[in-house]
C-alpha cells in the first residue's frame, strides 16, 4: 500500500512543483538563449498581468475581459447542463431513444469544439450566440454521458420498487433516476466545466468585442507575447477556481449521500 499524503504535504508538494516550474522558466528566459519575444520571463508576465488589471487593453481591463468570457461560459455551460442532463437521463430510461441518439451523439462528440467555429459564426453570429455554441459543444457531451451512466447504473431494485408502486415514467425519472445519478452528474459537470472553459479561447477567436481570448488575439496581433501569457495565466487561474468550487460541491454532496446510503 502507498503511504497516505496529508493535506499539508500535498499543498507543499504542489507549491514545490509550481516554484520549480517558474524557476526553470525564469532561468531559461534570463539566460539569453531564447529571444525575449519568444519567451518572456515570469516577472515580465506578472508585470503585464498587473498592468492589464488596471489599464484597458483591447477595449477593457483584464477583469472586464474575464467577466465577458465568464458570462459566455456560464450561458454555454448552463445550456449544456439544462439540455444534456435531461437528455442523458431520458436516454438511460427509454431504450428506443438511446438506440436512436447514441450513434449520432458518439460520432459528434469527437468533433473538437473549435471545429464548429465557422458554423457557429454563420448560424449564431459573432456576438454572444456563436461563442456560446462553441462552449456548449465542449461542455455538452460530459453532461449527457454522465447523466446517462447514472441512469443506467441505478439499483434495478429501486426501479422495480417504483414500478410496483405504480409510479409513472416522468416521476420515476425525476424521483428515482435523477437523485440516484447525482454523484455521476456532478462529476460530469466538473469535466464539462473544464472542457467548456477550455473551448473559450477558441470561441473568442471569432468574437470582435471583448473576452480573454479576444484580448490574447489582440496581444498576438501587437506581438505582445506578455499579453498572451497573462491571458493564459488568467484562464488557468479561473479554471482552477472553477474546478475547486465544483470539486467542493462534489465532496459535500457525496459526503451527505455517504450517510444516506
Amino acid at each position: 500500500m502507498q503511504k497516505q499524503i496529508s493535506f499539508r504535504q500535498s499543498v507543499v508538494l504542489g507549491l514545490l512543483g509550481l516554484a520549480s516550474f517558474i524557476g526553470l522558466w525564469h532561468g531559461l528566459a534570463v539566460s539569453g538563449m531564447i529571444s525575449n519575444v519568444f519567451l518572456p520571463s515570469p516577472v515580465e508576465v506578472y508585470d503585464r498581468f498587473t498592468t492589464l488589471l488596471d489599464r484597458r487593453f483591447a477595449g477593457a481591463t483584464l477583469q472586464g475581459h474575464l467577466f465577458a468570457s465568464f458570462q459566455r461560459f456560464a450561458y454555454g455551460f448552463l445550456l449544456a447542463a439544462l439540455i444534456g442532463i435531461p437528455l442523458g437521463l431520458l436516454m438511460g430510461w427509454y431504450q428506443l431513444l438511446d438506440e436512436i441518439v447514441s450513434p449520432l451523439f458518439d460520432a459528434l462528440r469527437f468533433v473538437a469544439p473549435i471545429a464548429w467555429v465557422p458554423f457557429a459564426a454563420l448560424w449564431f453570429g459573432t456576438g454572444i450566440g456563436g461563442p456560446i455554441m462553441i462552449i456548449f459543444a465542449g461542455a455538452f457531451p460530459p453532461c449527457v454521458i454522465n447523466a446517462y451512466r447514472g441512469a443506467k447504473f441505478v439499483d434495478p431494485r429501486l426501479i422495480e420498487a417504483a414500478n410496483m408502486l405504480g409510479t409513472p415514467s416522468h416521476r420515476v425519472i425525476r424521483e428515482v433516476l435523477l437523485p440516484s445519478s447525482v454523484p455521476s452528474i456532478i462529476s460530469g459537470l466538473r469535466v464539462s466545466a473544464g472542457l467548456g472553459w477550455q473551448s473559450l479561447v477558441g470561441a473568442e477567436l471569432i468574437v470582435a468585442s471583448a473576452g480573454v481570448g479576444y484580448m490574447m488575439v489582440q496581444g498576438q496581433a501587437n506581438v505582445s507575447t506578455t499579453t498572451v501569457m497573462a491571458g493564459m495565466v488568467a484562464i488557468g487561474l479561473v479554471g482552477l477556481a472553477l474546478d475547486s468550487a465544483l470539486r467542493l460541491a462534489e465532496r459535500i454532496i457525496q459526503r451527505r449521500r455517504g450517510l444516506e446510503n
Binding site: 420498487a161 414500478n163 410496483m164 408502486l165 405504480g166 416521476r171 428515482v176 440516484s180 444516506e260
Partner: protein, 265 residues
C-alpha cells in the same frame, strides 16, 4: 379480491432450447386472503414465482393470473416487500410510504390520514422524518412493509423479507407480521428458505424441488394451527415447542433434505 393462479407455468431464462429452465409445470392456486409460503432449496425458482406475480418476469409457458386477469406489468394492486428493502435512500420514511399513494387517485388529506394510520400500526410514528440510512435493518423493513400495506393491495408479495435481518429482529418481525395479517388479512405470497418461518406464518406451505423447480407438495398448516389452537400462544418460541409444529417442521425438513441429497448425487 385477490386470487392468484399459476396454470401450467414454465419459465426458461434464455432461448427455449439452450436456456436455463427455472420452473416446470407450476400449478398453484392461492385463495383470497390466504397466506401461502413457498419454501425450497436455493436456486429452485421460488423467487421467480413471486416475480412473475409481481409482473417483473413473464412466464415462458402457461399463465399467471390475479382474479382471472393475466399479469402484464407491475402495479400497486400487487405490492412487493423486497429482501433488501429497496427503500428510496433520498426520501424520508414518510415520503417513501407516500410514493405509492401519490400514484393512486387519493386526496391529500386522505393520504395523510392513511400514512398516519400505518405509521401507528407499524410503530413508526416517531421516525416519519428519518431517512432509511438512519434506521436499523428491522426498522427499514417495517417501512417497506408499511409502504406496501398502505396501498391496501389485494395481494402482498414478500420475497424473503426477513432474510437480511439478524435472528432476534427476525423473530420480532415474524410476530408483528402475524399480528398485522390477522388484523388486516390479505392474500400473501411469502418466499422463504426458513422452514420454521414458513410454518409459523403460513396457512399453506408449498415445497419446491431443486431446479427446474416444481411444486413437490403443498401442506395445509391452517387446519393444524386451528385444531391445535396455535394462536392462543403469543410468543413464537411457545408455538415452536408444540408437538404439532415440530412434526410439520420435521416433515418439511426431510422433504427439503431429499432435494439437497439429489442435488449432490
Amino acid at each position: 379480491m385477490g386470487v392468484i393462479q399459476f396454470k401450467d407455468v414454465n419459465k426458461i431464462f434464455g432461448p427455449r432450447e439452450t436456456g436455463f429452465q427455472a420452473l416446470q409445470d407450476i400449478n398453484l392456486e392461492i385463495r383470497d386472503k390466504e397466506f401461502v409460503a413457498i419454501v425450497g432449496p436455493s436456486g429452485c425458482g421460488k423467487t421467480t414465482c413471486l416475480r412473475m406475480v409481481a409482473g417483473f418476469e413473464p412466464a415462458t409457458d402457461g399463465m399467471v393470473t390475479v382474479d382471472g386477469t393475466p399479469i402484464k406489468r407491475p402495479g400497486p394492486d400487487r405490492a412487493v416487500v423486497f429482501q433488501q428493502f429497496a427503500l428510496f435512500p433520498w426520501k424520508s420514511v414518510y415520503d417513501n410510504i407516500d410514493m405509492g399513494l401519490r400514484n393512486l387517485n387519493v386526496s391529500r388529506s386522505e393520504r395523510e390520514a392513511r400514512i398516519a394510520d400505518i405509521l401507528t400500526l407499524m410503530n413508526l410514528t416517531q421516525y416519519a422524518k428519518h431517512f432509511p440510512h438512519q434506521l436499523s435493518g428491522g426498522m427499514q423493513q417495517r417501512v417497506a412493509i408499511a409502504r406496501a400495506y398502505v396501498l391496501d393491495p389485494d395481494v402482498l408479495l414478500m420475497d424473503e423479507p426477513f432474510g437480511a435481518l439478524d435472528a432476534q429482529t427476525r423473530v420480532v418481525m415474524q410476530e408483528e407480521l402475524v399480528r398485522l395479517a390477522r388484523k388486516n388479512p390479505r392474500t400473501v405470497l411469502f418466499i422463504t428458505h426458513a422452514v420454521e418461518e414458513a410454518v409459523y406464518l403460513a396457512d399453506r406451505v408449498a415445497i419446491m424441488t431443486r431446479a427446474p423447480g416444481r411444486i413437490k407438495e403443498v401442506l395445509d398448516v391452517a387446519s393444524i394451527r386451528n385444531a391445535e389452537d396455535w394462536d392462543s400462544h403469543e410468543k413464537i418460541e411457545d408455538v415452536m415447542d408444540l408437538e404439532s409444529f415440530v412434526h410439520l417442521r420435521t416433515h418439511i425438513w426431510r422433504s427439503l433434505r431429499e432435494e439437497k441429497a439429489a442435488q449432490h448425487a
